[in-house]
């Protein structure tokens, strides 16, 4: 039982780390603000979610596991909202937008 839970934790946290890494690579490599936002918010949603799922079997109490889920929900809400606000400000200021490879 413990070994199975450990395996779940390792697999999910590693998968979450992969999405965080991919998000950071996207942040550094993508050509404009909108594509970088895309990379970052996906990393937040998926990466954080997978890490949360991986950590939930570690909690002593089911309520603590629910708190972790709440952290994920709030993180997604914040990422989605901030993504919208930044994207809107990009459009309003007329900052350069990537139109595909020239």
């Amino acid at each position: 039982m413990t070994a199975a839970l450990d395996a779940i934790t390792v697999v999910f946290v590693l998968a979450g780390c992969f999405f965080f890494l991919a998000g950071n690579v996207g942040l550094l490599r993508f050509p404009d603000t909108l594509t970088r936002l895309h990379a970052l918010t996906k990393a937040d949603n998926l990466g954080l979610g997978l890490v949360v799922i991986g950590l939930m079997p570690r909690m002593d109490h089911p309520l603590s596991a629910l708190k972790l889920l709440l952290v994920w929900a709030l993180g997604m809400l914040a990422a989605a909202t901030v993504g919208q606000l930044i994207a809107r400000s990009v459009l309003r200021r007329g900052l350069p937008i990537w139109k595909g490879p020239q």
Binding site: L74, L77, A80, T81, Q84, R88
Partner: protein, 330 residues
Amino acid sequence: MTAFPLLDPALCFVILTTAVLAVAIRTVFAAVVSFIVFGLLMAIAWVRLGAVDVALTEAAIGAGLTGVLLLSTVARIAKHRADRGDDVPILEGPEPDPAPTDPLPGLATQSLAIVLSAAVAAALVAAVALLPVPAPGLVAEVGSRLSETGVESPVTAVLLAYRGYDTLLEIVVLLFALLGVWSLTADARWGGQPGLRHLARPDGVMAYLGRLLPPIGLLVGVYLFWIGGYRPGGAFQAGTVLAAVWLLAVMAGLVPIPKVSGIRLRLALVIGPAVFLAIGLAGYPLHGAFLGYPPAIAKVLIILIEAGLTISIATILGLLVAGAPEERPS
């Protein structure tokens, strides 16, 4: 022992790097961002040291609130420069070179500065190296007498019972900081609304967040205040969360920010220090000393003080971010 032996050294390294960046980087905006990252990393460091209370406060106040204050300062400077017609945007370029300064000090002065700096550094290293092991402390004594205070969290006991005097003075300092901000108000605008601008569209995502988050934020704030009696949490962390929720609703354009002359606002500002002082003075007749709590009702008194402090801290922090009054009183 950690499963990742490199975690702590790596944490130390990035903390030092962000600290140096915050001071040395030439773009003001980047320096502020480095400072915020530094604050968040410090919060992780406090967790690694087992000081969850300090970590919560560092994340909420050191990174969160101070970060917001610094960012709004940067935005204000940028607006000021744009109004004046400077062509150096503060957000993108390095600072313009200052006017020609005095020539570099002479070799003797420079050498003296190096020697003095090295001496101070050596003294600090010596002071840390000479600390006795184990470090002297009152941990055991606090632990053995915790039950007398009625609270179960040793941090809350130290903050409100053993060192209540410090906490009382801290909240008064916070109030003075707000008075300092208010003293920057132009005479004609005194008594008006603070200059927190809200540009949110009524059907926009910000207004949506401003409706969705406050109930959750209020719950978290009250939870942090109540849990302070048993586990990490307390008035400062709760006050910060409540202030953030309030500011969110204000910035979403859902509630007006009150005039600084409002009586209810003034009451909210002073209720914390007032309750604290009143209970402190009641300590003379009840327990023979200022801030002395009779053990039978110690817990009730501490919770009362914490409740008052939470309200005042939330109001003070929110108004600190809102800034000096800018709208004329109507």
